[in-house]
Symmetry: C2
Subunit: 255 residues, 2 copies
């Protein structure tokens, strides 16, 4: 078991770099923080590359990892993204398997979403709703961003999340006979009028601008959620939740 | 038209105090920021007490207020809650009319919610879903908190929002024949099995602990949203959105 005292240690500097998207993309790894996230990550084979524990923090016996490094409180506070850190971190491997696409029937596609809290909440909701796969298109925030990970509360480890060009994926799904639903007022039908089959793809657009014109052109049908009051729109995570639960309300429970 | 240059001006200090709940409660006023919120507030009679504009900021002609004060950029940045301020603020009157209760048929009751972003999003969603009134129980964050106001995107000005003891309100609603639905797994039925009448009250509980044991004892029925995947729960704002839209999906549109 290694011990690192100094925040100037080059390994610490390397970990710290994982707070940037550039380094995460380069190394295909990311860093998570807190007991709950680490616990969920450890349940998945091959995800956790290294466990990092601040000295004095008690680790549950069930937390087994190939590599464990103990660090000083100083190093811990350097890695922490939140003010109240639990003193436990893990370096994880990004596992984006595009082959999961062929085994999936229900898809949530994110088209240019920008708010990390929204994306995390949407991933958590997709997990709850029993969606098979979440696909993040170009211009959507990195799923391994700290705030996305925190908001998703471990759902990253429950369903496949991949980054792909949606304009390539949509025709591929349509060829397999999977209907692709956009979300837009233009040419849209009220969502309650649609009873999707067992397979479908649902696209949610950017918080301010909605879906990109390119993806919008490719959908089989567009849905909208009616506004009964005076608000101009719904938050995108709320809209995603309403639609996914409407689509899945007859799905048999998996657990 | 007044002009205030110095951030040491006692009026500025008074405005600044409105960033605290204590002062908001004492004066029954609150401060809002940004063109969109100010515009929505101005549409309601008697809400805006004073408009505050940073010098050089162009105010739309439609923005008419009894009192307008121009302030220096220094004063503006002192009042601003966000880093990118638009340089326009308003002091508003809290308008909590409990008499609105008797005129309302659909209620959303918040029982001990703590996250300002959740509460703001829930108020925005309640507005969209056509709920008549939102009631914040004891222990729920102040609706006039800056972050709540920002997340609600102006819905504060679209439907009545009151703070009340839920343990007093629930029996009152039940006496009027309005069914009160809690949200809990215990003694709960799946939400899709309930088709509420035109009037109902729905209670959402605290993010971590759910509803208080006292309010939970008083409900007519409890609802739950099934989890099809592996996530432990839904975000409370997402759950509120799914339930309100399920309840209101046959409601005629108002606008």
């Amino acid at each position: 078991m290694k011990y690192i005292q100094s925040s100037k240690n080059p390994i610490v500097k390397q970990w710290k770099k994982l707070l940037t998207k550039k380094e995460r993309d380069l190394t295909r790894t990311y860093i998570i923080e807190g007991f709950h996230l680490v616990e969920e990550a450890l349940k998945q084979d091959g995800v956790v590359q290294e466990l990092i524990v601040v000295e004095g923090v008690e680790v549950p016996r069930t937390f087994e990892a190939e590599f464990i490094t103990t660090v000083s409180a100083e190093v811990g506070s350097l890695l922490a993204d939140t003010e109240t850190t639990q003193g436990i971190f893990a370096i994880c491997r990004q596992q984006e398997r595009e082959e999961d696409i062929v085994e999936s029937s229900t898809f949530l596609l994110l088209d240019g979403l920008q708010d990390p809290g929204n994306i995390g909440t949407i991933i958590r909701t997709a997990d709850a709703a029993g969606i098979d796969m979440v696909v993040l298109g170009k211009g959507t925030v990195d799923p391994y961003n700290q705030k996305v990970l925190r908001s998703a509360q471990g759902s990253h480890f429950h369903l496949p999340i991949v980054r792909m060009d949606l304009e390539e994926l949509i025709p591929e799904l349509q060829e397999r006979g999977i209907p692709v639903y956009g979300t837009a007022l233009e040419n849209g039908v009220e969502y309650t009028g649609v009873e999707p089959a067992e397979s479908y793809a649902l696209i949610m657009g950017n918080e301010g601008n909605g879906m990109s014109p390119h993806t919008l052109e490719m959908t089989d049908q567009n849905l909208y959620i009616p506004i009964y009051g005076q608000s101009e729109s719904l938050n995108v995570a709320i809209a995603a939740g309403i639609l996914m639960y409407h689509f899945n309300q007859n799905t048999p429970k998996r657990v």
